[in-house]
Assembly symmetry: C2
Homo-oligomer: 247 residues x 2
C-alpha cells in the first residue's frame, strides 16, 4: 500500500533532508522508522522537496510503500513514535500504488525570516539574525523582478546549474512585524539554493550595496556572479506544498 505523508522538521541538527552517507539526515531518520514499522523490510521515502542543511520544513510531502497492512492513523502514530522530536508526521493518507507525489505538485511556498532588531538568542536557529535595519521599500521594489517565469540560472550555485533552470514564481511579498521580515515565495518549484540566493541579493538591496534594478540585471545575465550572496539556511522554511489533487 502506498501512503502520502506530510511532515515538518527542525533542520538545525540535520545535514539536510536528503540521505548522505555518514551524515544525519531527515530522510534517513524517516526511512529507519518506516522500516521498523514495516517489520524491517526496507522502506524508501520519496520526497517532493530537498531542503539543505539547517533549512526547516512545516509541510514537506513524500510518499512511501508499506508491505504491512496498517491504517493511515496508525502509521502516523507508529512513525511519530519511532522518530526524534525534531521531525513530526502531520498527516498520512492512502493513495493509489502508482501515485508519484512529485508529479502532483501545484506549488511550493517558502518563507525566509530576517530579524532586523536586537540579536534574539531564542530565535538564533529559526530566524536569520541580521540585527540591522534594512531598506524594506527598496527590497519590495527588487522582489517584483522575481515574479513570473524566468530562467533562474543566475541564482543557482555555479557548479550545480542544470540544463533547465526555468521556473515560475507566482507570488512574492515582504511582510514586516516587530522588526522581523517575512519574505514569501510561491512557485511551481525552486532550484537548489535559489531562494537563499535570491534573498542574498535582496539583503544587498536592503543594505544599499546594490539598487533594486541590479537584481533584474543579475537575473537577465543568467550567470551566477562571483559576488553572489547566499543567505544563511536557518531563516528558510518550506511552509506549504500544494498538490493538484487536493483542496
Amino acid at each position: 500500500m502506498r501512503y502520502l505523508i506530510r511532515f515538518s522538521y527542525d533542520g538545525s541538527n540535520f545535514k539536510g533532508y536528503q540521505r548522505q552517507d555518514g551524515y544525519r539526515t531527515v530522510q534517513e531518520e524517516l526511512e529507519i522508522a518506516a522500516t521498523k514499522v514495516n517489520n524491517l523490510k526496507e522502506v524508501k521515502i520519496v520526497a517532493v522537496s530537498r531542503t539543505d542543511r539547517g533549512v526547516h520544513a512545516l509541510d514537506q510531502v513524500a510518499h512511501l510503500d508499506m508491505d504491512v497492512s496498517i491504517t493511515p492513523y496508525k502509521l502516523k502514530r507508529a512513525l511519530n513514535s519511532n522518530i526524534s522530536d525534531e521531525i513530526h508526521i502531520n498527516s498520512v493518507k492512502e493513495v493509489s500504488d502508482d501515485y508519484f507525489s512529485r508529479y502532483h505538485v501545484l506549488s511550493k511556498e517558502y518563507h525566509y525570516y530576517i530579524n532586523m532588531g536586537e540579536f534574539n538568542p531564542i530565535m538564533r536557529n529559526y530566524v536569520y539574525q541580521h540585527c540591522y535595519p534594512l531598506n524594506v521599500s527598496k527590497m519590495r521594489d527588487a522582489i517584483q523582478f522575481f515574479k513570473g517565469e524566468h530562467d533562474f540560472r543566475a541564482f543557482v550555485t555555479e557548479n550545480r546549474v542544470k540544463d533547465n533552470c526555468v521556473r515560475c514564481i507566482y507570488d512574492v511579498s515582504i511582510e514586516e512585524k516587530n522588526n522581523i521580515l517575512d519574505i514569501k515565495f510561491v512557485g511551481n518549484g525552486f532550484l537548489r539554493y535559489q531562494v537563499r540566493n535570491m534573498v542574498g541579493a535582496l539583503i544587498k538591496v536592503g543594505t544599499g550595496k546594490i539598487e533594486p534594478f541590479v537584481v533584474k540585471e543579475i537575473l537577465d545575465s543568467k550567470v551566477r556572479g562571483k559576488n553572489g550572496a547566499t543567505a544563511k539556511p536557518c531563516g528558510l522554511y518550506l511552509v506549504k506544498t500544494k498538490l493538484g489533487d487536493e483542496e
Copy 2:
C-alpha cells in the same frame, strides 16, 4: 562603576539562571564573560529574577560592578562577544554605585505558551506541546482567581515554602492564535515554580479534570496538594521587567 544590564537567553541548555556548582548556568557564563572584560578581576552579577532550568528570558535585569573604565556601549559589545549566542545583552546603562536593581522592580511579566495543535518540532523547546484542545473559556474563568493580592503558598513547591508567600498579580489574560495559547501574568513578583504551578492547574481546568472554582479552593487552602501539577519549563518566558525609575 555600576551598570544595569537587560538581557535575554534561551534557557533550553542551561540548568537555570542561578549559579550551581557543576552545572552550566546563565549567571556563570555571564560572570566569566564580565570577569574577562574586567581584566580577570572577579565580577558578580546580581539579577532581579531567578529562572529555572529550561525557562527562557527576553528581559532579565541585573546589575554588576566593573573596575575598568568602559562605556555602556563598549561593555555591551564586550559582554556579547564573550558569551555564547544563547545569551544576548540587550542594553547596558550606568547607575549610581548604591543602585540595587531588585529594589526598583515595579512589575515582572511572564508568559506561558501552549500549543493545542499538531506537535511542532520547530517549537518543541519554545512552546509547551500539549497537542490537544483545551477548554479556553473555562481556563479564562479560572485565571481570574489569581488576580490581586493572595498568599500563593498553594502554588509553591512544598519544601520551598517561604515565610512570606504573599504576592500581587496585577494582570492575567489568555490570548489564542493559531491554536497557541499565550497566558500572561503580570505581578510584583513570583515565587519559585509559582507560574508553572498556576499553569499546571489551568491545564487541569482546560482538560476538564477540575472545574474553574477548584482553582480558588486550591488558592484558599494555602496548601500545595499532592495532585498539584507543574507545567513544563519550556513554555515559560520572563518577557518584561519594569523598574520604578524608568519610562
